[in-house]
Amino acid sequence: MAQTLEIESRGGKAGTPLLEVQNLVMHYGTKEGDVSAVEDVTFTLNNGEAIGLVGESGCGKTSIALTLLRLLPDNSVVKSGDVRLDGESLIGLDEEQMRRRRWRDISMVFQGAMNSWNPVYRIGDQIREALRLHWPETLTYQEETERIAALFELVGLNPATMERYPHEFSGGMRQRAVIAMALSCNPKVIIADEPTTALDVIVQDQILRELKKIQKELGMSIIYISHDIAVIAEVTERMGVMYAGKLVELGSTIEVFHRPKHPYSYLLLKSTPSITGPRRKLAPLEGEPPNLIEPPSGCRFHPRCPFATQQCIDEDPPLTTVGEGHSVACWHWQEVPEIGGLQK
């Protein structure tokens, strides 16, 4: 298999399913009991697509990312369900097989990654290390350098700076270099977990633009994970809303933002302040996220939900299709009002 040195996505034809998460259930064992961190989550990432997972801390979005990469802590158990990349189950792979896929097929840009550079090695050499470990063929030093230079240019860094040490980079530059590293082996999927959370707003904007540009140009498939729905709105085409370990709504980003069908999505949107649009009263979400050791019965959102009825306490709503590519797990989705964007 001859490898080109082009920077590209090794995914398949755009629009075909690439990564399928099916009925994934993942628990953490603790002394107090089992934490049901991911409960029956199903979604698909298509080739060339950017999707988002949004939710509050502890809702299970990062646990999903860790499950996809199989980087879970020792006390976690994948109870059931499957993760398939190009039709191949990742859950059944042994550690060595997974290690070979990890960076090569699925790479990641995680929160605070910019602080994970080893301070005593040059940035370029650290990317070179990743290439040596994960690139399927042995490259010459010259080829490696050329590839790193190309990666640097792609993420908006001056290739000459690859000779620098991490402390000589600003936070934004380091995060760009993290993206370059994530792209180094032409992955099929990039998981970006809070990629801009620690950054200032102007730098965040630059990084998000860069990621969006790369995703479009290379046809890269990216899963964005964020607590900030504004970030998700910027960069994704489809999104899932998570609450207490469950995927409660899944749909095209514009559909979820303008016509949310789950009360949680609705309240989340209603409680997000914005600098554009008319100044409006924001609706607080009362209460606190539930304890996942003993999650609420029925729908996990019912204790905080203004639409909750007896049915919500007794029965867990399944994810049902309510429109094209739009599904929601709520008994009362028809009652949730339309938002219709900020301008209204």
Partner: protein, 338 residues
């Protein structure tokens, strides 16, 4: 430089008036050598806050907004300048306060911190934390303090108060801790509260209830906030006016909606254009500025934004850092090329 009165401030005498406030941090100082290099964390800033008004101080990390807050609460000493606090008609200069006035000052000015997990002593109960200023200042008997703390807990929404009074911070959620921090700030009936990013560590769903609580209590207790944040959307929700800081300088102050609708300083424009909008249908205007934020280490006297400014002219390069231009409606901008 005469300080033009803003609309709100013009009605009454300001509660807080900051004049030419500076904070320089020496670099590599030791006992045997005077420092030659200084980081100009806060450099010659002026603003006013009217009674009951809340002013947002917005900027990127390292712009000096937190240092300003710390100087106003006397956690950090100012290098020069004045901070005048109106205490029942009498002006106290916080920057040069006498020891004897300290106690009175501590009753007037309080602070709410960013990280609810770090701002409460893990070894003290909610009661101890909230009652601390009452205890230190010997206000009331023990029972009165307890009642006062319970009342405050009730008013910040920790109900029933008796179930929270003797809990430790680790038994509370992030939102509850921040409510305790708010109760602590208000227990002594201050007139002015510095809030340093009080909601940035909280989850979205909790954030609004804390912001609403702070707005409600501002009315009930008649306090003014200096609301420090990096998030313009939050500042818009919380503040009557917004001041934008860049590398130790305030570059623009205006009433909130005026600033958002009509930003005049190139930095404010860049900042506003970079804020992501929670609506995928909304297309933002793109304002590009060059480079990244640097450190204000021995800055030349010219405009701080000059290296990144798309509009910089020869005047900017040769003149001192611009002073405020009053554009009316309390809109002040520090830029030569409007």
């Amino acid at each position: 430089m005469t300080e033009p009165m803003t609309d709100i401030a013009a009605k009454t005498t300001p509660l807080v008036k900051v004049e030419n406030l500076r904070k320089l941090y020496p670099v590599s100082k030791n006992i045997f050598r005077e420092a030659h290099d200084f980081v100009h964390a806060v450099d010659d800033i002026n603003f006013e806050i009217a009674p009951g008004e809340s002013l947002g101080l917005v900027g990127e990390s390292g712009c000096g907004k937190s240092t300003t807050g710390r100087m106003l609460t006397k956690l950090t000493d100012a290098t020069s300048g004045q901070i005048l606090l109106d205490d029942k008609g009498e002006l106290i200069d916080i920057a040069h306060i006498q020891r004897s006035d300290m106690r009175r000052f501590r009753r007037r000015v309080q602070m709410i911190f960013q990280d609810p997990f770090e701002s409460l002593n893990p070894r003290r109960t909610v009661y101890d934390t909230v009652a601390e200023s009452l205890t230190v200042q010997r206000i009331g008997r023990v029972q009165e303090r307890e009642e006062r703390v319970a009342e405050l807990l009730h008013r910040v929404g920790l109900t029933p108060p008796e179930s929270f009074l003797f809990r430790y911070p680790h038994e509370l959620s992030g939102g509850q801790r921040q409510r305790v921090a708010i109760a602590r700030a208000l227990v002594i009936d201050p007139t002015f509260v510095v809030a340093d990013e009080p909601t940035s560590m909280l989850d979205v769903s909790i954030r609004i209830s804390i912001m609403d609580l702070m707005l409600k209590l501002a009315d009930e207790f008649n306090v003014s906030y200096l609301y420090i944040t990096h998030d313009l959307a939050v500042a818009r929700y919380m503040c009557d006016r917004i001041a934008v800081m860049y590398l130790g300088k305030i570059v623009e102050i205006a009433p909130t909606e005026e600033l958002l609708a009509n930003p005049r300083h190139p930095y404010t424009r860049a900042l506003l254009s970079a804020v992501p909008v929670p609506d995928p249908a909304y297309k933002r205007e793109r304002v590009d500025i060059k480079g990244g934020i640097s450190k204000a280490l021995n800055p030349p006297p010219v405009c701080r934004f000059i290296e990144r400014c798309p509009r910089a002219t020869d005047q900017c390069r040769t003149s001192d850092h611009p002073g405020f231009d009053d554009l009316g409606n309390g809109h002040l901008v520090a830029c030569y090329n409007l």
